[in-house]
């Protein structure tokens, strides 16, 4: 007996498709439309500018600063997270007992609300009563100096996201066949040689996925830094998302703010295309 020809499963997928189109695709078209206008929220005026907002970006020094800040934050934090996350993954992978508890412990920084994390670190960075200055015996004004504030944000982000990186890498480490290590050991390979020639190549697809997720997340960072420093001092920690937010909701320039957020969107799109192509080229 054969099942009679099935109708399509469209009714099942419809609600999700409709919701996604209405709440993500439509707003995306809308934001592009907004970015072509000069629109102020209070005066409710809207004039068509064409690409005027985009050409203005090139003359806006604050835009360039926030772009540079975003790139600096992304590159430093993702690099540190990958290297340290790999170290934690190797520890997690070699720990035989207590792995369950350790896994829960490692998840804590990931699960704590980012806003709470930022408040916690703001307090620890406090120049006068902060834990860091006390433990290090220093008197550094971490969040008040243009030299340190962005690095302080990077340290915080690294703390928060190492767990995510480490857990994904651990999952990857666990599927590497043990025999490969045995074979390499028989051939007299040392631990570093094994890491470089066995672990790293086999882990590469996962490393790329981790880099994809982390780079995107770091590039669109908002809440962590917004709560930690508000973008200050002297805009030294203002990222693109924070600048866009301020233009949108503090000065209420919806057209120009939308143009900045379109830039964030395009950059994130470019980053994902880059990594996805890299992933495809993996053997």
């Amino acid at each position: 007996m054969t099942v009679k020809t099935e109708r399509g499963g469209y009714p099942f997928i419809m609600p999700a498709a409709v919701v996604l189109v209405l709440v993500t695709v439509y707003p995306l078209i809308y934001v592009f439309w907004l970015s072509l206008h000069k629109r102020h929220l209070i005066f409710e005026t809207s004039t068509f500018l064409g690409l005027g907002n985009y050409t203005f970006l090139f003359t806006d020094e604050r835009f360039f600063t926030s772009f540079k800040n975003t790139v600096y934050f992304t590159v430093t934090s993702v690099t540190l997270e990958l290297v340290l996350g790999m170290c934690v993954a190797l520890v997690l992978n070699s720990a035989i007992r207590g792995r369950g508890v350790l896994r829960a412990v490692v998840l804590v920084p990931w699960a704590i609300p980012t806003v709470v994390t930022a408040k916690m670190w703001e307090w620890m960075y406090n120049a006068d009563f902060g834990l860091f200055n006390y433990l290090l015996g220093l008197k550094v004004n971490w969040l008040g100096s243009t030299m340190w504030a962005m690095n302080a944000a990077v340290f915080m982000d690294v703390w928060k996201t190492i767990p995510f990186v480490a857990l994904l890498l651990t999952a990857g480490l666990q599927v590497i066949p043990r025999e490969l290590y045995h074979a390499a050991r028989v051939d007299g390979a040392g631990p570093f040689f094994m890491f470089r020639k066995v672990t790293l190549p086999l882990l590469m697809p996962i490393i790329i996925v981790v880099l994809l997720f982390r780079t995107i997340d770091a590039f669109r960072v908002f809440d962590a830094i917004y709560v930690l420093t508000g973008g200050g001092p002297a805009n030294s920690t203002e990222t693109l998302s924070i600048y866009a937010y301020k233009v949108l909701f503090q000065t209420l320039q919806f057209g120009y703010g939308s143009a900045i957020s379109m830039v964030v969107f395009l950059c994130v799109g470019a980053i994902s295309v880059f990594y996805v192509r890299l992933l495809w080229r993996q053997p």
Binding site: V3, G9, I13, L34, V105, V108, A111, I112, F129, D223
Partner: protein, 278 residues
């Protein structure tokens, strides 16, 4: 007995590393906990690290001087509703992607994946205008709608993978026995994929509990304000009330940490499933 000393050394080495990782991960939270027990002059004195006169003052203030209970209730309502809705809509879609004949599955999954990469800042301005037009500003509905949508990609992605693992013969057998597709979905597939659904639910709940940008933008009073906004905008009269902020942080973080300790295995499953099965 050189071998055994080596082994002992190695074991202690690993233990030391584990201790280091634990201290690193829990340290900041422990410090926040200690801060929450300090008041007045103790807050601005170091040493001692431990509170010399532990007090519950900050906790009392959080609930009595601030509408924090209301804010927690808002967060509970928003996170629970978003989780239920996202799982309902998402699991239907995942079921059809995994088991039913539809065209353009790959395209739809690619679309879903790209939506998960949308920067929130890129949609916040139009969403704000839409929500204002609909008259939903400063209501929990605005947040529920947004969180349901933005967690859909994760839900669809994980559950499609879970449903795919269920043998197609089960589907066919039930179909031959005369079950409708919707019956197969909720009587057979939902129970069979329960672990996956559970893992997804935790991830969606944590996302909705923690989200900040949309919450900051769409809410303006305690009518709909959620925990992250409440903590970020914690009011102080003359100076930052670090003790009270610490107490509030502890109150909202403890449930999440409990969730993590109880369900760590499921969470890791969900996280790796969501990220690696691409």
């Amino acid at each position: 007995m050189k071998v055994s000393t080596d082994k002992i050394l190695k074991r202690w080495g690993i233990l030391a590393l584990l201790a280091l990782v634990t201290l690193y991960c829990l340290g900041p939270f422990i410090w926040q906990l200690l801060t929450s027990l300090k008041a007045g002059v103790d807050l601005t004195r170091l040493p001692p690290l431990l509170p010399p006169a532990p007090t519950s003052e900050n906790y009392v203030a959080v609930f009595e001087e601030h509408p924090f209970l209301r804010i927690i209730m808002n967060s509970l309502v928003v996170a629970t509703s978003s989780t239920v809705l996202s799982l309902f809509v998402g699991s239907l879609a995942a079921f059809s992607l995994a088991k039913l004949p539809i065209r353009g599955k790959a395209v739809f999954l690619a679309f879903v994946l790209s939506v998960s990469m949308f920067p929130p800042i890129s949609t916040v301005s139009p969403l704000y205008l839409i929500i204002r037009t609909l008259g939903l500003r400063d209501t929990v509905w605005a947040l529920i709608m947004t969180y349901t949508t933005f967690t859909l990609p994760l839900t669809i992605w994980i559950l499609t993978n879970f449903f795919r693992q269920i043998p197609h013969e089960i589907y066919l057998a039930a179909r031959v026995d005369g079950c409708t597709r919707f019956q197969i979905f909720y009587k057979i597939f939902i129970p069979l994929a329960a672990p996956g659904i559970f893992a997804t639910a935790i991830l969606v709940f944590i996302f909705s509990w923690n989200e900040f940008l949309f919450a900051l933008t769409f809410t303006s009073t305690v009518n709909s304000r959620t925990i992250p906004v409440g903590i970020a905008l914690f009011p102080g009269i003359h100076e930052v009330p670090w003790g009270e902020i610490a107490a509030a942080s502890v109150v909202v973080t403890v449930p999440i940490i409990a969730l993590v300790f109880v369900f760590q295995k499921r969470i890791v499953e969900g996280l790796t499933m969501g990220a690696l099965k691409g």
